[in-house]
Amino acid sequence: MSYQWDFAPVLARSNLLVTGLVNTIEIALISIVLGVILGLILAFMRLAQRRMLSYPATALIEFYRNTPPLVHFFWFFYALPVLANISLNPFVAAVLALSTQSGAFYAEVFRGGIVSIERAQWEGAKALGMKRSQLMRRIILPQALTRMFPPFVERSFELTKTTALASTLAYADLMYQAMIVNSETFRPLEVYTTIALMYVILLVSASTLARLAEIRMTAYR
């Protein structure tokens, strides 16, 4: 271990890494929002009584849960443009890949939360003469939301970590910026250690926020 650590060249380029961090947070937030919307649609389709709705949703969810995210990134970036005769920039392809994949996982989180509500709650609401939409809005969802919260946060963390794959499509996220800094400084040890710590700080502070939010959400108990 005679290696001399030298963080100075890396720190001199910290503005590149900060740009990367901002881009990582941006792509993660956009994909979380789109993923939640898609997840809600898929969850309600899967819960629907009609097979025409539930079967395609199940197939889509299972497909995305059982294939690697990297394949989706490449598929959206290289294969979809061929199929649809359009061209996508890396950012759009990465957002599509991330939000469809996380949509499939979110759908399972939402569905799990909804089916976990005891039967008596459904029956009670029905007995009071509520319509299905009222029953969902007034009785089931408020209770399911607090139960969904922890797995939802975990999924969002997984998504944030998966954003690093966008670097393979040359989207300028933290990982990609690190590769650039590395090629300028030839200091892989310092560069990759630094960004690993940046991800740790990002996720640890996000998980602290999530824990505070969870305490507030369950304060009524």
Partner: protein, 221 residues
């Protein structure tokens, strides 16, 4: 959508993809075997009463859980050799990163499992005069393994998906072969879709098994 599919070329490329699949399996199985075994000892370390043991284990686990796998792979390939002074082959670096990552996640599964065993079990076994390691081996571990089987299956699935990232270090596994073939033939749609389907066929049985196990356990209560 008047794209002409050319699935004929898959006849030529399928054997290549299968060779890639073989490498994927060579990465996958050793990573989960090594990861689960190391994870067990990490869990014991994490549960240890001595802080000198438990805090480093906690740090290790959190470091691997709070950074993207892609960084871990790149770190072990580009940065770690500088620390140890030996250049690693892409395959070894990928194996190391995947195995250690799995160990951190499975440590948490083991810990959850060990903590979930009722206290009476420990006391009963001690009262029968068993030494701590005998209690672990004969009483606790068999129950933990059974109870945590779905969680371990899920982890194995995640590792199979993560192994696709080894393509970035140019390990010749399934994703790498798929990327190579799709750029050679300019047929990303057919090749990448096939790659996705091969992954699905590889991963779905495990996913199905874990779902069935969870259902069986839930019905037992």
């Amino acid at each position: 959508m008047n794209y002409q599919f050319d699935f004929g070329l898959l006849q030529d490329s399928f054997p290549v993809l299968l060779r890639g699949l073989a490498v994927t399996i060579q990465l996958w199985i050793p990573s989960i075997v090594a990861g689960f075994s190391l994870g067990f000892f990490l869990a014991l370390g994490r549960l240890s009463k001595s802080r000198v043991v438990s805090i480093p284990c906690l740090g290790y686990i959190e470091l691997f859980r709070d950074t993207p796998v892609l960084i871990q792979l790149i770190w072990f390939f580009y940065a770690f050799p500088i620390v140890i002074g030996v250049q690693l082959s892409p395959f070894v670096a990928a194996l190391l990163a995947l195995g250690l990552n799995t160990s951190a996640y499975s440590a948490e599964i083991f810990r959850g499992g060990i903590e979930s065993i009722a206290k009476g079990q420990w006391e009963g076994a001690k009262a029968l005069g068993m030494r701590p390691e005998a209690v672990m081996r004969r009483v606790i571990i068999p129950q933990v393994l059974k109870r945590m089987l779905p969680a371990f299956t899920n982890r194995a699935i995640e590792v199979a998906k993560m192994s696709s990232l080894a393509s970035i270090l140019s390990v010749h596994e399934l994703m790498y072969q798929g990327r190579l073939l799709s750029s050679t033939y300019y047929r990303p749609l057919e090749i990448l879709t096939t790659v996705a389907l091969i992954y699905f066929v590889l991963i779905y049985p495990g996913s199905y098994l874990s779902m069935k196990l969870e259902q069986r356990m839930a019905s037992k209560g």
